[in-house]
Amino acid sequence: MNQQSTSREERIIEKAKSQFPDYVKETKIDGNKRVTITFNKDHLQEIATWIRDDLGLDHLKGIACVDYPTHKKLEVLYLAGSFSKSEIQDIIVTLKTELPRDAATISSVVSIWESAHFHEREAFEMFGIKFEGHPDLRKLLTLDNWDGPPPMLKDIRFPEMGQR
């Protein structure tokens, strides 16, 4: 069982590497059915379309952003999974890319995975990432009168919450 599942994950990575030899920067398999593919952000649309159509990863579980102020970068992670293909239901493929912190712009994947709609709105609000091509990029969670910086960035602190 274990050996078989390892080979499934390796096959995904091999396919990704042969399909996009120039864009895929790094790949990783985490012990427990997790595949991470790091790639160049300009090719998000192509990789996402291929992953949806060829691999059958039909939905996004979420979009996670991580702020690394010391490296002046923002990482965006797209967690994709599959409902329709039962043989890969247990695998989560993470598409990972990085953006410069001062010009965080990336194309939207709403046209590929409609499930990304609210996830992108959240990332836009919390990290200030602009998703080009999103049909309705508005604030989602913060108050209407909140005009401060994106609150989830690491250098934004809330001393009243005990953050120093």
């Binding site: 985490d30 996670a64 702020d67 039962s86 993470t94 609210f118 309705d136 989602l140 969670l141």
Partner: protein, 374 residues
């Protein structure tokens, strides 16, 4: 699958339309505002305005150590606290390389399934019962839920917010006499489910109001990335307990109830059938429970790296990503929960329907605003 151009959620205002704000007063499950654009008695489109109960859980988590994070990370959905707690602890345990002993996994599983029944009873009382104007089931379900709450209090020490599963295993072993009490309660509850079926699920009024309303087709449920009973009500057999068994689920035999209709009534029935499955799971777990230690010591720090853990909560899959940085606090915690993922089904389903159908569709999704807002 075809690539359809994605449409904006809100339709353009016309002369004949009027905007009506529903909420943000408590609609029974937390504060949320639905901005409805109505044309006569028809809802043209809705714009869910969420965030009234946003607490910045993910931000707070970066400033608390791994164990102190548990109480506040389970608060977003207090009626389903075990699952939120478990979803956070699984990736932390993966990072730390801690394995929970078998007995601990069984106790966690029993607690989680009791919590699932309690959460579904809350849904049955408020989101199905009150929203469809059925006050009897509201009283019944809340009364029976309290019996489970009392047993959970005996097991964990708290009625709702348990903080029962720190990394390494549950906090307490099962108290003596607990199994007998629980078995007795399950026998009683199984009989009550027959009554529920007669009074609520087979009730012609409920059937008339929920059947054929808010149909989410299988392809759309997949495309929109919905999860939990919403997804299974549309005929997709997907349950994390089967797909990626955690706890003791690999040893237990249970079915995934699915209905292919995809309407509000199908989602009602999924939750009803899931309560029956939970009864069977708890009974098996009591019978198979091994002896031995319940928990292992877990370190206070987690090494560098990222881990994703997931559980099947009452509202669907919760995936939590934890990034560690060799300290006692996580660098980043990202929570992807069922309510936030099912949110997109709200504007999709509440479109071109009667105003009176809105509460039923909203209730059938079991959307929990606090969980979505985090």
């Amino acid at each position: 699958m075809t690539t359809e151009p994605s449409t904006p959620i809100v339709d353009k205002a016309k002369e004949s339309t009027m905007d009506v704000s529903v909420g943000p007063q408590h609609p029974g499950s937390g504060h949320v505002r639905l901005l409805m654009r109505v044309d006569g008695d028809y809802i043209v489109s809705i714009d869910p305005d969420i965030g009234y109960v946003h607490r910045g859980c993910e931000k707070i988590a970066e400033y608390r150590n791994y164990v102190s994070n548990i109480p506040h990370l389970e608060r977003p959905c207090i009626i389903d606290a075990i699952h939120l707690n478990w979803a956070y602890v699984l990736p932390v345990e993966t990072l730390q390389g801690v394995n929970v002993p078998p007995r601990g996994r069984y106790i966690s599983t029993i607690a989680a399934e009791m919590n699932r029944i309690m959460s579904h009873l809350y849904w049955l009382a408020i989101n199905a019962g009150v929203f469809s104007g059925h006050t009897t089931i509201f009283m019944w379900a809340f009364g029976d839920r309290d019996l489970f709450i009392e047993l959970m209090e005996w097991l964990t020490g708290a009625r709702l917010t348990y903080s029962f599963l720190p990394p390494g295993g549950p906090r307490r072993d099962i108290p003596s006499g607990f199994e007998e009490k629980l078995t007795k309660l399950l026998n009683y509850f199984e009989k009550r489910l027959i009554e529920y079926d007669r009074v609520f699920f087979k009730n012609p009024l409920v059937v008339a109001r929920a059947k054929g309303i808010g149909v989410l087709k299988k392809g759309d449920a997949i495309r929109l990335g919905t999860t939990g009973p919403v997804l299974r009500g549309s005929g997709v057999e997907y349950d994390v307990r089967k797909v990626e068994p955690y706890g003791a689920y690999a040893d237990l035999d249970f079915q995934i109830p699915t209905f292919k209709e995809g309407d509000a009534y199908a989602r009602f029935l999924v939750r009803f059938e899931e309560m029956k499955q939970s009864i069977s799971i708890i009974r098996q777990a009591i019978g198979k429970m091994p002896k031995g230690p319940i928990a292992r010591k877990a370190p206070l720090v987690a090494p560098e790296g990222e881990a994703i853990g997931r559980v099947e909560s009452s509202r669907g899959e919760i995936a939590v990503m934890v990034i560690g940085d060799n300290s006692d606090k996580p660098y980043r915690v990202k929570i992807m929960n069922g309510s936030f993922r099912n949110l997109i089904a709200l504007p999709y389903l509440i479109r071109n329907v009667h105003v009176a159908d809105m509460p039923i569709i909203y209730g059938s999704l079991d959307y929990w605003p606090v969980e979505a807002d985090r």
